[in-house]
């Protein structure tokens, strides 16, 4: 029994099929609890007032936007090295979710920045590197859609993902070199003194878990859809073959 058995599409479908409702349900419960807790049961911040609550969407979305790219990098490597189709399809399914998370993080950041910083957008390193990440997602998705042959598309997007990861990382450090920031530092830290108050921290953890579960549920559904689409194409091709023969 090894992890690679799940690379078999049939095995993957059989295992994930019953799993999807549970993961989706857990995501819904965690999301509802976390957001209700965060939005209604936390005190107002003494300086930021109610606006502080955007953190419960903004931070998990931003975290997922980066983690999804890392997940795509891993699945692309698996595809290039071991040629498991499920892996390539999972990367394909993850990209639009990552783009959505990036856009959510940018929009909620703007909504928070308007009352707090007095501006929707500044060319701050963190904001800028997120915008660059957004461009990387768009390019990746566009390349998937532009190429017709599925295996060529999977190969080329995997190569793009590898090269893009290096350049995305370089861009991140380059923009820190380029401009001084207005954005605060990391929201969460292991050092006790730097953490946000427990009132906000625990609902935030819950929201992060919820966003993670939501992503897992969505990517499973997306990958399953891709596999089904692949099977349908194969069936159609077979039907055309047999029609041609008779």
């Amino acid at each position: 029994m090894s992890l690679w058995e799940y690379a078999n599409p049939k095995k993957f479908m059989d295992t994930t099929g019953p799993l999807v409702p549970w993961v989706a349900g857990a995501a819904a419960v965690a999301m509802a609890t976390g957001l209700i807790w965060g939005f209604f049961l936390t005190p107002d911040d003494f300086r930021q007032g109610s606006t502080v609550r955007i953190v419960f969407i903004h931070v998990p979305a931003a975290m997922m936007a980066i983690n999804i790219w890392v997940m795509m990098l891993v699945t692309s490597l698996v595809w290039l090295i071991r040629r498991h189709h499920v892996s390539a399809l999972a990367a394909k399914a993850a990209a639009p979710i990552g783009l959505a998370m990036t856009v959510i993080a940018l929009i909620t950041g703007g909504l928070w920045g308007q009352p707090m910083w007095g501006t929707w957008w500044v060319w701050d390193p963190r904001l800028t590197s997120f915008l660059v990440l957004c461009l990387f997602y768009i390019g990746y998705i566009a390349l998937w859609q532009a190429i017709e042959d599925p295996d060529t598309a999977a190969d080329l997007t995997a190569v793009l993902c590898l090269v893009g990861s290096v350049f995305a990382l370089m861009s991140r450090y380059a923009v820190f070199f380029w401009s001084q920031g207005l954005h605060q530092g990391a929201s969460l830290s292991v050092q006790a003194g730097e953490r946000m108050a427990a009132d906000y921290r625990y609902p935030l953890y819950l929201c992060m878990v919820a966003f993670g579960l939501l992503f897992v549920a969505l990517v499973l559904v997306g990958t399953r859809t891709e596999i089904r689409a692949r099977r349908m194409k194969a069936l159609e091709a077979r039907a055309r073959m047999t029609q041609g023969l008779t």
């Binding site: 566009a142 080329l156 190569v159 090269v163 370089m170 380059a174 923009v175 070199f177 380029w178």
Partner: protein, 218 residues
């Protein structure tokens, strides 16, 4: 390899278009920007480094899709794939030819446009030096984008979408060399980082580009 380089250079010069087009575009950009933002010398001097670098970058982008497209259409790319030199070498030569026909002329023309945009005289040398160091990276990265999109019929727009985000670090360091030079600050850090990007890209990206070409030829 030298024969291939000579062939690509001859094709670029004789076939017209690619060679002069980038330069003309660069010139037009340098004319349009003052028309757009107004002739105030101080404003122009302030934005000149960025405008010149962005202009060089876009001019580079113009001729990228020609790197492989013609060879792909007439089948010479298949011949090159079966030739004794490895694909990595072919890709590196292609990038070098692109740089000689695009990056080098842009670098040489940049001081003239710098005068048009009222760039500080102290920064002229830095402009040439940063373009000399940075434009090879633009060509190498662009070759990677061109290799990814070579099989597509209308890859031009997609190519710019893929390549422009990859240009971000080069642009930032390149433009900040010129900005710092104009202000009389030390340019050593961005210059070293720019050279690092160029050398790293030239050393590693041909492998990725060659892999992409092989996938596309499959």
């Amino acid at each position: 390899m030298i024969a291939l380089l000579a062939r690509d250079l001859r094709l670029a010069i004789r076939a017209g278009g690619g060679f002069g087009l980038g330069l003309a575009f660069f010139l037009i950009l340098a004319v349009l920007v003052p028309l757009g933002v107004g002739p105030d010398p101080q404003v122009l001097a302030r934005i000149a480094p960025g405008v010149l670098w962005v202009g060089a970058l876009l001019a580079c982008l113009l001729s990228l899709d020609r790197i492989f497209a013609l060879d792909w259409e007439d089948g010479s790319l298949d011949l090159l794939a079966t030739a004794p030199i490895p694909m990595e070498g072919v890709v590196a030569i292609k990038a070098a030819a692109h740089w000689i026909t695009t990056g080098l002329p842009l670098t040489l023309a940049a001081p003239v446009l710098g005068v048009l945009l009222n760039l500080a005289p102290a920064a002229q040398g830095w402009l040439v030096l940063s373009l000399l160091l940075g434009t090879p990276a633009l060509s190498v990265i662009g070759t990677f984008g061109a290799a990814l999109t070579v099989g597509l019929r209308r890859g031009g727009l997609l190519l710019s979408l893929l390549v422009l985000p990859l240009y971000v670090p080069t642009l930032i360091y390149g433009a900040s060399v010129v900005t710092r030079g104009a202000e009389g600050l030390s340019t050593a850090t961005p210059l070293a980082l720019l050279a690092g990007i160029t050398l790293g890209a030239a050393a590693l990206l041909p492998f990725a580009s060659a892999a992409a070409i092989r996938i596309n030829l499959r």
